[in-house]
């Protein structure tokens, strides 16, 4: 009895555990509804491949949201970076995969650094600053494209890395998640991010350079967005200025589902992973259980709201239970 209670307590008192539970339930339901055709190795690997960009950028968004910020410029950074990578191959015939990835990372870092600099030193609201850059980078992506796309033939060699069956995207994801898991939990750098989001004034007084932390998180976000730009070109074997348009909301949704608080200071790498996975599974499952694509956005929205609501209600009932324990 005691042990059972503590297991139940673990589940309700940890957002990660409750989300894992919801995820498992959903998988079982989908597996049954799709008559056992859902959980196949192909489907699973596709879920990760198709959502690699969201999953990768969710890590950066976690950092940003932990500082009570938000970054809606990421898919524009992605498009801008992707366009440069694509055009370098199409027009300059430059095809070294590693160098192209490094270049994408550098461009992303520069974009993110600008966000961080303006938000920390200029005291701009993150949503306003990144909204500005959302238009700027997307606009520059169109400028770089000059009304042209980089198509499959242009990026053929580069697409080897991300093509169906290549382990490239998975390795990037695994390395990124393991690295972030360690950084966020076991390094002072990671804990500074939590501290700044939990109470920026306190952080300042205890000698933490808040501006530096902010610049760092937005730079990390930019780095991941830049890498995603290259990855996107590689996976989809094309570069267009409108790529991943509007998908920044998927990234934010993944973090929020994973228990990251918009008020900062609360969130985890595992939660983010589960959140992103939840979102990815949902997107993949809807057509398989026979739902027409016209319904998918509607259902996604409802499910996202439901999951977050459940999260909030669990929190509230936990608070209530704590109050009742006070015996008043």
């Amino acid at each position: 009895m005691n042990k059972k209670k503590s297991l139940w307590k673990t589940i309700t008192s940890s957002r990660e555990a409750s989300l894992l539970l919801i995820l498992i339930v959903m998988l079982i339901v989908v597996e049954i509804l799709s008559k056992g055709t859902f959980l196949t190795p192909t489907n699973i690997s596709q879920i990760f491949r198709n959502n690699a960009l969201t999953m990768l950028m969710a890590l950066g968004m976690l950092c940003v949201m932990l500082t009570a910020g938000i970054d809606i410029s990421i898919t524009s950074t992605l498009a801008f970076t992707g366009m440069i990578i694509g055009m370098l191959q199409k027009r300059a015939g430059f095809t070294n995969t590693l160098v192209l990835f490094l270049l994408a990372a550098l461009i992303g870092i520069a974009c993110g650094f600008l966000n961080g600099l303006i938000i920390s030193k200029g005291h701009l609201a993150p949503i306003i600053c990144t909204m500005g850059f959302m238009y700027i980078w997307r606009g520059l992506a169109y400028v770089v494209s000059n009304n042209q796309w980089a198509s499959g033939a242009d990026v053929a060699k580069f697409a080897e890395f991300g093509k169906d069956g290549s382990v490239g995207p998975y390795i990037i994801l695994i390395v990124a998640y393991v690295a972030f898991f360690i950084i966020m939990k076991w390094t002072t750098f990671g804990r500074r991010i939590y501290a700044v989001g939990s109470n920026a004034d306190a952080a300042r007084v205890s000698g933490i350079n808040v501006d530096k932390v902010l610049i760092e998180v937005y730079t990390i976000m930019g780095l991941l967005a830049g890498l995603s730009g290259a990855l996107s070109v590689s996976i989809y074997a094309s570069a267009q200025p409108n790529m991943q348009y509007g998908k920044e909301m998927d990234v934010i949704a993944a973090c929020v589902i994973g228990g990251t608080s918009m008020n900062g200071g609360r969130g985890s790498v595992i939660g983010t992973f589960l959140g992103a996975l939840f979102y990815a599974v949902l997107a993949k499952a809807l057509p398989l259980v026979g739902l027409d694509s016209i319904w998918q956005n509607l259902i996604k929205g409802v499910v996202v709201l439901a999951v977050v609501l459940i999260n909030v209600l669990t929190q509230r009932s936990m608070d209530r239970a704590a109050l009742e324990r006070r015996e008043m």
Binding site: I182, K185, W186, T187, T188, R191, Y194, A195, G197, S198, N199, D201, A202, A203, V205, S206, G207, I208, S261, G264, G265, R266, R320, A322, L323, E324, R326, E327, M328
Partner: protein, 508 residues
């Protein structure tokens, strides 16, 4: 050198844009002493502390640590030199664990990896040393203010600080929590830590300090031995004038009952609270922080929903579902956190004052704002309470805490059907001068026949102003004393009585 000084500051001047926050002040701290730093709000105490801890850099002046001149470039330098501060408002990280709150900024790191286990063990040791009743793994946000303060002290200890600065540590604490803090301070002093202690409470100073330094208007006034200065002399040093009667309690003929609550309960906050107030009576309500005083009154005023209970005004039951109902019934609450719940700081004073009756003053079917009438009324009431504001257009943020509180009182007064005024910690964080004025306003209101409920943790003001005193403990009323039979000891006993027994029950 005749004295063993661990810290000395000379000729410190700190200028903020437009203000001289510190003007050529000095300070000497002996090794192993508890030194009180006193002065009215705005006297520059907090700024001074921040200069010591390196948060602010002084424009002029010298600072000597153990006789050697030091220049701190930031809080980190001060910490490294063994100076730690516990600020007025706990500067904690509510979403992080106690362990992390203690060690943030100086974590145990091995090969770049944080040693959580070691840190938790060390945190446990520190908490045991302070006799804390919570665990290192608890989330900071779930702790009470007193507990959070203890974490802050543990944090100071974890840095091996030789000088600990406590900035108004008892402001948010009740009597017995303060007593616990005193013991901790005594213990630290015995261990050789030098302590600077800022407080508005005289009892803190008498209980703890051997010397006291007074600042006034950004200037150094003097340093005195605590046992050689009287309270009146000290107040004079702080205020610059003598305050003849701190508690001008008028003799008022007590009328009939205006307000009564019966059996108010809310799960987890308070249970079965009943009390009454007569016209012209000032009723004190005291207890420990967390005893449910504020929560009860918030429920009475419809801010939160009680699970059970009845409210009567003038003998008739009223049903209150929201704050507007309470106001209609004649019950007005002056909230504890006046900056958050009492005033809209960015608005003009006039707009703040007439906000509760704006709707009534408005004209016509479209409720057009009656600017002229509003201004006239706002002016009248602001004059009545004598704020130092120049015009009704000054923003709320331009006033000091004490004057803000007076504006909140004016806001209550404009509601001419007011019968009961509930004042929740009206003088918290308010300096001595403004305190006396608030008491005198309170006395005037009682004379006019309003029933007043004074919620306060400060024994002196409860005993000085009340006709009758209720005590609460763990959400229940534990006593009601006439002022003639009340004493500090008796009130404390009633406030704590139950906490001991329930404490034992909880352990079992």
């Amino acid at each position: 050198m005749s004295e063993d000084l661990i810290l000395e500051l000379k000729g410190i001047t700190k200028i903020f844009p437009g203000v001289k926050a510190l003007n050529n002040v000095q300070f000497q701290l002996r090794r192993g002493e508890v030194h009180a730093l006193m002065g009215e709000n705005g006297a520059g105490k907090s700024t001074f502390i921040k200069v010591i801890t390196g948060v602010h850099a002084a424009e002029e002046g010298h600072m000597y640590l153990n006789g050697k001149e030091v220049h701190f470039k930031g809080p980190k330098d001060a910490l490294a030199a063994g100076i730690a501060a516990v600020y007025q408002h706990p500067t904690t990280y509510p979403t992080l664990s106690v362990t992390e709150n203690i060690f943030i900024g100086h974590e145990f790191v091995k090969n770049g990896i944080i040693q959580w286990r070691q840190m938790t063990q060390e945190a446990k040791k520190l908490l045991d040393r302070l006799d804390a009743d919570f665990k290192p793994g608890d989330e900071m946000g779930t702790l009470s203010v007193a507990q959070q303060q203890m974490v802050e002290i543990a944090k100071a200890l974890s840095t091996n600080a030789k000088i600990i600065i406590l900035d108004e540590p008892t402001a948010a604490l009740t009597a017995n929590e303060s007593e616990k803090l005193y013991k901790i301070v005594d213990q630290l002093r015995d261990e050789g830590v030098s302590i600077i202690f800022i407080s508005h409470r005289m009892e803190d100073m008498y209980r703890l300090a051997t010397r006291v330094t007074v600042f006034r208007d950004s200037q150094y006034i003097g340093t005195y031995d605590v046992d050689k200065i009287t309270e009146a002399e000290l107040i004079k040093a702080m205020v610059g004038r003598e305050i003849s009667d701190m508690y001008p309690k008028p003799q008022v003929k007590i009328g009939g009952e205006v307000f009564r609550i019966e059996g108010m309960s809310r799960t987890g906050y308070f249970k079965d609270v009943s009390l009454n107030i007569h016209a012209g009576e000032i009723v004190g309500l005291t207890g420990l922080v967390g005893a449910g005083r504020t929560e009860t009154m918030e429920a009475v005023c419809g801010i939160t929903k009680p699970d059970a209970g009845k409210v009567f005004v003038d003998g008739k039951e009223v049903h209150i579902k929201n704050p507007a109902d309470a106001m209609k019934a004649g019950i007005v609450l002056l909230p504890e956190d006046r900056q958050r719940q009492g005033l809209i700081l960015s608005w003009g004073l006039g707009d703040n004052v007439i906000l509760p009756i704006q709707d009534e003053l408005a004209k016509g079917p479209f409720k057009v704002k009656n600017e002229l009438k509003e201004r006239e009324l706002a002016k009248k009431y602001l004059e009545e309470i004598d704020t130092k504001a120049v015009t009704i257009f000054d923003p709320g943020s331009s006033l000091s805490g004490g004057n803000q509180q007076k504006v909140v009182v004016a806001k209550a007064l404009v509601q001419d059907n007011m019968k009961v005024l509930i004042m929740d910690e009206p003088t918290k964080g308010v300096d001595v001068g403004a305190k006396a004025e608030i008491y005198s306003i309170m006395g005037d209101l009682a004379k006019k026949g309003y029933g007043i409920l004074l919620i306060s943790s400060e024994m002196a003001e409860i005993l000085g102003m009340s006709d009758r005193i209720y005590t609460m403990c763990k959400g229940r009323v534990t006593g009601c004393l006439d002022i003639k039979e009340a004493s500090q000891e008796r009130l404390l006993e009633l406030s704590m009585e139950k906490s001991k027994t329930t404490g034992k029950e909880a352990v079992q």
